[in-house]
Amino acid sequence: MWTLLKIELFKIFRRPRTYIAFAAIAAIIILIQLAFYSDGESFLQFGMQSLKDSFDINGKILSGYLVCFIILQTLLIHVPLLIALVAGDSIAGEANMGTLRLLLTKPVSRAQFMLAKFFATLIYTFLLLLFMSVLSLPVSISVFGTSDLIIMKSEMIVILDRHDILWRYFAAFGFAAIAMTTVASLAFLLSVFAENSIGPIVTTMSIVILFTILTTMDIPLFNALKPFLFTNHMLNWKGFFEEPVNYYGIFKSGLVLLGHILFFVSLAIFIFKRKDILS
């Protein structure tokens, strides 16, 4: 299994396409940091307009913690699409290249083969998030410094003491890893059905975008659906930035996401084991 995993990781990281996601993330993060560096204050004044009607807010609002929060908020909508790029290619890419038929004539069980592929995708996802976390948190802190973090929710404003923030980011990135793995496992499942990676990538993206739209629209009809959408639960990394932290809610969301992962991967393996390889 370890040999298979090493082989899969080798294949992923020797492929130029893999690095597109890293480049895209780096570009987005650096652009956001640059934007805030040059014009962050006025952006924040505008954003806090409604609050400033009733309150005087003093102190350093623009801090590395805030920039990192905004980066996370932006990226965790878009990173799923980059995850799909590699995960959707897992099986379909091999079929398209014609290598799948040769791989499956090796003395390796299909279940092991699938698990190795999935774990390799998982490692890629984690590395992508690690890259994102290093670029967004330490770099933002070094450029913008630290301060309390002010988070504006729809019905609440939360201010977190600057000494009480770092651990929340570690927890949030950990939760984000589970969230991104959910997307990866969906793309992985869809990859089993196709002989070209475009299909699973686009389908995964479409599902994520559709569910994200349903998740973010504040319409009563959709609100009833939200607890059943995995994209809604993916947002609960923000739960670590509440006071007090709703550990039960986050745990529940985590379980829902883990349940999705287990379901998607199990189904993928089940189907793949019975699939006739015609590519």
Partner: protein
């Protein structure tokens, strides 16, 4: 007739004396507060507003006569109701231009206090009326209720300790009106737990409370004007 006049005199004198007492009292308090040209103090700021969750913060408060007042949280963010907080009593007495109206007495925390209303004479003053609850013996304002044109009515309660000689409180509690706060969910992109009940009871929305506990006043050591710039 002469008796009537004497009786009337003795009837009205107390009134005049009474009115003069209030003016004197206010003058005495003002001059007590005037001792303080500037101060800086450490404090603990607690916010109790329904839609704000903020930690209790260690702050530094700075005041300079006549009306410069600022609160700084070292390396952090402080959030205070608009209207200059009003915790600084001294600003109430900035102008001499008000009418003093006695309004009786009452008891606050087992202490007898005199109620005095101040009516600003200026037409364009934001303050409509200020009601002061004064401990005559200690020459300390225990409570102040201020009605403004723009921000409604707010209330300040003060408790004193070792700095009472300066008229500087240990604790100030400020109760004020707040507007409803709401942002569209499409903008904030939040997790929807599916709980139908809003966490905020709309009836509780109307008033907020801010409390500062002071310690370590450094009085009249000089503070440059630049300190009070943003």
């Amino acid at each position: 007739m002469k008796h009537k006049g004497v009786v009337l005199f003795f009837l009205f004198v107390p009134f005049f004396l009474f009115a003069q007492n209030e003016t004197e009292l206010i003058k005495k308090i003002k001059s007590k507060l005037d001792q303080v040209n500037d101060y800086q103090a450490s404090g603990m700021l607690k916010i109790d507003v329904s839609f704000i969750k903020a930690p209790n913060s260690v702050i530094k408060v700075y005041y300079k006569k006549p009306d410069k007042f600022t609160i700084k949280k070292e390396g952090g963010i402080s959030i205070l109701p608009k209207g200059g907080f009003g915790a600084n009593l001294n600003s109430i007495f900035i102008t001499d231009k008000y009418t003093i109206v006695p309004a009786g007495e009452t008891t606050l925390n087992n202490v007898k206090v005199k109620i005095i209303k101040l009516l600003p004479l200026e037409e364009n003053s934001n303050v409509v009326i200020t009601t002061l609850y004064i401990d005559e013996k200690e020459l300390l304002v225990k409570k102040s209720v201020i009605t403004t044109k723009e921000n409604g009515t707010y209330q300040i309660e003060l408790a004193y300790g070792k700095y009472s000689n300066w008229g500087l409180p240990d604790t100030v509690v400020f109760v004020f009106n707040i507007k409803e706060y709401k942002l569209p969910k499409g903008v904030t992109v939040e997790y929807e737990s599916g709980d139908k009940k809003s966490k905020i009871n709309p009836d509780e929305n109307k008033k907020g409370k801010v409390e500062i506990s002071y310690s370590n006043y450094i009085i009249n050591k000089g503070i440059p004007d630049s300190f009070f710039g943003k």
